[in-house]
Symmetry: C2
């Protein structure tokens, strides 16, 4: 465990948001006040305990199988017990009573109103632009001064419960924010539960892929990306979806039997596990049966069902939208693979805005046990911040997986490869330019997130922005330390 | 003009909703009270005048070019003048003031509360299940009793401003609701404006496609589908998007040079005209330029820009989501075409839930000048009603375009073709079974819409449900009467 006194250098907006004056707790009691009064990023591992959850979450070790939902084509409405920390029922419906829609947002607004000026000036002072350990190394003369990174040795996948992962090295010059080592108790518990889910509940992979599954280190990944998750089960919501998304990518698109041929059909049919078919009684049973017919669909269906227990209707709609974007991105990339087309750099970046981590950070509020209201999520400034964060964090994947993808058969598109080809640069110069593109996106993300936080200082917005940035930082941490999967090129 | 005294037999839910007791007008003054106190469907053509628009809308004949938006990659925030009838600003943001989020929904709920019991009992009495002129002909012994439809003769496209369209014949046994002839003055004005937009603003088609464009009769189509649009400009929002969607389908997927090869790339790059790219300063200009590089992208970009002037942020998000679904549907169909795969019937129906009219009825509130709040739109019951309506109305297209598609080169999938192939039925029996599938979906749509209206009798929900049903009815009307494009098979 890191020294709890050492403040990790997280993305500036969320950290600044954390320093903003306190606002009343959200009605669900998820510890919003604790979040806002922290002097800096939270001390790990349990900064945001939910009301009524006095015990450390790792003691919630009820076997997943005991709470496995029944298999139904469209999950039943979320019960109160399941969604207690997330959302209130939509008003005026079903029971004929009248409520207050999005009252959380109204309460937040009211709470924030008295503090708006105060918060704005504090934010202005604090959020004076991006800075970080990675930035200075790309300043004038910086590239040549960056110390060379030793080639990272490939590690064996270790059991996540037994020992800390290999450290790895950050890409020299890559603008990022280190995070503290995720709590090993949480990592261990999530790792145990996710393996049980993958093996026993959805049969996500055959036994011979076990080493690869362990090497994915998805428990460590999700614990690092969601430091404010109130319980292990909240972390499991993110972890199951991440495993399911990877099962679809691996089995349909890439490493394990994937192909661009017929991909449009496979992805659409899998998408119905997230966004259900509504058809006649004659044809529905065959569709329901199809959702059990392969690992990707079993994983999507089950992960979505658990997600719906925690998510509001609008959060579920948001996730479906982001997943449809992801699938469009896969299909654009597949089209290029099939036609052996080398896209322009801007075309590649457009595809990569869709074939993107976006569905992962945008569930940060569900995983955190609160809700960013739909109307605030839809605001153009928020959409822009989300897209910029998604693009930056996705390029981290391009950069860390560069050597892995070079070794795989065929041409695997990533930003350095496309820049080299389209702009006539050497592999090294193209890679370093891709680092700059990433850094530029990160800086813009932080600047625009700070502006949005200043313009709209309601607690759910501040916490969501902080959650997205924490995801970006956690994602970098995971790539840097996953020496089982990734190693750096020898460009420095 | 039809006799204003004759009540068209529209889908039962909206008609019943219209008969529910009056509720206070929505804050935008779009005539909600008038809607709710009407004894039946509205008397055409101007049932819902917007506040401040005393003149008949057809006199709003300012040339479109005069109000054409400037070309920017991401449209500026909607001005108050543009959005006066739609949405209020999200609270607590930008200006530091505090407002009441979704106050319309709260007001509606409050207004509906006192009437809930009354409305529910009225709805229960009225919404006793689906009925309609098409239903009885499919009751026991019905099919044999249906009078044969004479083959519709193919008409020449007439100028929409000069004469009424050919009448056409409904498909025998198809459950549908006739609508009155759309107001010819509105049709004429929309037709004039849309042609000017298509030719002068976005160059949507070359001169040799003019006859086909006229034959599309999109002005008549949209006027029929949006009887509650308060102004011509509201109708234009829907009409531009419809033309743009057809330009993409024609040019990328089907009739005019489309191909499944590389489609994933083309659709994604076009999708960025709706859901913009956020990238670095170096690469953004090439993307902006790309949006002018072909007719589909020019049309998407411009139509979206006009749409954003009327839509709230959440309505825009909803539209982007529905369009990403549509593009996924195109890509599944393309995958089958490329692999010459004949899908199972349920697979075809799943694909068709995505390759679907859905983006058209779901903008009914924007076109109507009001907003169904995002949280109510996201409710599972509403999502199910929308999906059912979209599926039924999309199968209308399969059935009316059956002979057109049979004549086109290659195998064009539609429901009768897939049923014939997969279930070993004759062409006639497969077609008649497809009619039954459509009718089943229509009945379920109406039943579930009625249940939702009873459970959630807030005015925006009732009006939205009515708008979706009006779209379904108008879509059938357009298919039936578009004898330039469609003719019926000789199966009766």
């Amino acid at each position: 465990m890191p020294d709890p006194g050492s403040s990790p250098q997280q993305s500036s907006t969320p950290a600044a948001a954390a320093r903003a004056p306190a606002a009343p707790a959200e009605e669900a009691g998820t510890g919003q006040d604790a979040l806002l009064t922290l002097p800096g990023p939270p001390a790990f591992p349990f900064p945001f305990p939910a009301v009524g959850e006095a015990l450390p979450e790792v003691r919630e070790s009820a076997p997943v199988a005991e709470s496995a939902p029944v298999h139904v084509p469209e999950p039943e409405p979320v019960s109160e017990a399941d969604s207690e920390a997330v959302s209130e029922p939509t008003p005026g419906c079903d029971d004929g009573t009248v409520g207050e829609p999005n009252s959380r947002c109204a309460e937040e607004s009211a709470a924030a109103a008295g503090q708006a000026g105060q918060a704005s000036s504090a934010l202005e002072r604090i959020l004076c632009g991006p800075s970080g350990p990675g930035t200075s190394s790309l300043r004038p003369g910086g590239r040549g001064l960056v110390s060379p990174a030793p080639p990272a040795s490939q590690a064996s996948p270790s059991s996540e419960t037994s020992q800390p992962p290999a450290q790895g090295e950050p890409i020299p010059g890559l603008y990022h924010h280190p995070v503290p080592e995720p709590d090993p108790a949480r990592v261990g518990e999530v790792s145990r539960r996710i393996k049980r889910w993958a093996v026993d509940e959805v049969q996500a992979y055959p036994p011979e892929w076990e080493e690869e599954f362990d090497g994915f280190s998805v428990g460590r990944y999700m614990v690092a990306c969601h430091p404010d998750a109130p319980t292990i089960e909240h972390l499991m919501v993110a972890t199951r979806l991440m495993v399911a998304e990877n099962a679809v990518d691996d089995c349909y698109c890439e490493d394990h039997g994937g192909s661009p041929v017929g991909l449009g059909s496979r992805l659409l049919l899998a998408h119905t596990a997230l966004d259900p078919l509504h058809t006649t009684g004659e044809y529905e049973p065959a569709w329901v049966e199809s959702l059990q017919s392969d690992a990707p669909r079993r994983a999507y269906r089950s992960a979505m069902e658990y997600f719906l227990r925690k998510a509001s209707d609008s959060q579920a709609d948001r996730y479906r939208h982001d997943m449809s974007r992801l699938h469009l991105g896969y299909l654009a990339e597949a089209a290029w693979a099939q036609t052996e087309h080398m896209p322009e750099v801007w075309e590649y970046l457009a595809m990569r805005q869709f074939n993107n981590f976006r569905p992962c950070p945008t569930i940060t509020d569900t995983v955190g046990g609160y809700e960013l209201p739909a109307d605030l999520h839809a605001r153009p400034a928020m959409q822009r911040v989300i897209a910029l964060a998604g693009n930056a964090t996705t390029l981290v994947n391009d950069l860390y997986s560069y050597t892995k993808e070079l070794k795989s058969p065929g041409t695997h598109l990533n930003l350095p490869v496309v820049i080299a080809e389209r702009e006539g640069l050497s592999e090294r110069d193209a890679y370093l330019k891709a680092v700059e593109v990433h850094n530029d996106l990160m800086h813009t993300f932080e600047t625009e997130a700070a502006a949005l936080a200043a313009a709209c200082p309601v607690p759910s917005v501040l916490r969501f922005l902080r959650g997205v940035a924490a995801w970006v930082d956690g994602n970098h941490y995971w790539h840097q330390t996953n020496t089982y999967r990734y190693s750096l090129p020898d460009f420095w």
